[in-house]
Amino acid sequence: MQISLHINGSLRDVYVDPRTTLIDALRDHLGLTGTKKGCDHGQCGACTVLVDGRRINACLTLACMAQDSEVTTIEGLGTSDALSPLQTQFLNDDGFQCGFCTPGQICSATAMLGEMAAGWPSHASDSLSGPFLLSHAEIAERMSGNLCRCAAYSNIIEAIQNAAHAEGSSGDAP
């Protein structure tokens, strides 16, 4: 079937089998290989992209279901000349080892900081009404949909905290 996807600000036409997931459309049909395919079952978060600004697993969405939505991948968050604050901070803080989970981590963290700015609580929050601090426990809970087999978690958390502080977001380090 012929579908049109709004990706990183461009409208892209692509012909896909209805079975094609969004991750496969991005990687195999559109050449956007920044997004990684890990478990393909929604458990690892490597395929995390933003759909209408929200983080989702691209492996558990059909490409045809993403028509009429704005999809943002790691390629749309920054360029090598103009990195996003989180991309910069992941480099500065060694927020990775092999780098396979990194695009998903950065897309997820980008949306996660937006969720915190919007006042969304988490399982780790003492009170449902806030305040929600960028503590180790809060970030670990809010990022639990992104696995890192190298276990670079401590530096990932530090990079997210430092990026948020550089941006002047609310929340304090623990």
Partner: protein
């Protein structure tokens, strides 16, 4: 994945006969990849106008397409139905909660590993073939309401809180009606493939919350790791105290049966009494009197006892929150 025809519905009436409904897709697409489910036709309802939370009488009407993340963060839900926010936030991951819908979450399938394993018999996946779990290696299975044909659990968190809140499921179709969440899921009996009261050709359009109840609400979930894991057991409690005595209580237990498990006798035994360890022990004895200890999940009996008592102690102020 087996081939299918895809259709995006524009209205509630725009439903091809026999099509399987997809909304968030987080459970269905996973099952389709495993070929546990092989629908020939999918109808995508995610663009229907069923995504609002609005007042209904003294309560709330939650559209079937409201995402788990939006429901958990809704200011009125957080203020008046905190057990629901807590249950939702205890489930899945941030990415999955952004996709998963209220209606779809009620319809999610069991996580029994034999249900997923096409090489083994399963009465739920292929009726009449037998149950590989009974006699197999089992752990996160039912201690209540299992049958000789199935010992699987309903795995979700949201429905446990909704059951304790006495919420109702609004169903559209040839026979529009409302069904209590507590009655929506079915025990397996000899038809474990029939999991809910939803009939072919019907669709969930909303969940209705009654007026908020004064008092305390808690959701306590015990799992193998601290985040992003299904419950081994969970307890939702909605409790009202007047002059130091319990005057109203609803208790629902998750991941222990094919439905959120409530026991009216257990709840009745608490009414009129001041909270005490002896009272909560008695309530736990009543709750667990029907538990059957298949060897694998038998650990859930003492686990549920302790979780139930701890949640009641916390909710009634007998001990501070952990």
């Amino acid at each position: 994945m087996k081939p299918f025809i895809y259709h995006r519905a524009r209205t509630l009436q725009d439903m091809p006969d026999g099509a399987t409904i997809i909304a968030g897709g987080t459970n269905l697409l996973d099952l389709m990849k495993h070929e546990v489910t092989t629908p020939g036709s999918l109808v995508d309802i995610s663009h229907l106008d069923l995504n609002r939370i609005e007042p209904e009488g003294d309560g709330l009407r939650i559209g079937a397409l409201v995402r788990n993340s939006d429901l958990a963060a809704d200011p009125v839900i957080r203020r008046d139905y905190p057990v629901l926010s807590r249950a939702l936030l205890a489930g899945a991951s941030g990415q999955l909660r952004n996709m998963a819908t209220t209606g779809g979450n009620l319809m999610q399938r069991t996580r029994c590993p034999y249900f997923y394993d096409l090489r083994t018999p399963c009465n739920k996946r292929a009726p009449g073939t037998g149950c590989a779990a009974l006699g197999g290696i089992i752990r996160n299975h039912a201690i209540f309401g299992a049958s000789a044909d199935c010992i699987a659990t309903y795995p979700g968190d949201m429905a446990v809180a909704l059951s304790a809140l006495d919420a109702e499921v609004e169903i559209a179709g040839p026979n529009p009606r409302r069904v209590r969440v507590a009655d929506f899921h079915l025990l397996p009996g000899n038809t474990p493939h029939v999991e809910t009261r939803l009939q072919p050709g019907e669709i969930i359009t909303a969940v209705i919350l009654p007026a908020p109840v004064k008092g305390e609400q808690r959701y306590r979930k015990v799992r193998d790791r601290a985040s992003f894991a299904f419950a081994l057991v969970s307890v939702a409690v909605v409790i009202t105290m007047t002059d130091g005595r319990i005057t109203r209580v609803a208790l629902a237990c998750g991941s222990v049966a094919a439905k959120p498990w409530r026991d009216p006798e257990c709840e009745a035994a608490l009414i009129g009494h001041a909270p005490s360890d002896a009272l909560f022990e008695q309530a736990a004895n009543l709750m667990l009197r029907a538990a059957s200890g298949h060897v694998g999940p038998a650990f859930k009996i003492p686990l549920l006892r302790r979780t139930l008592i701890a949640t009641l102690r916390d909710a009634t102020g007998l001990e501070p929150a952990p």
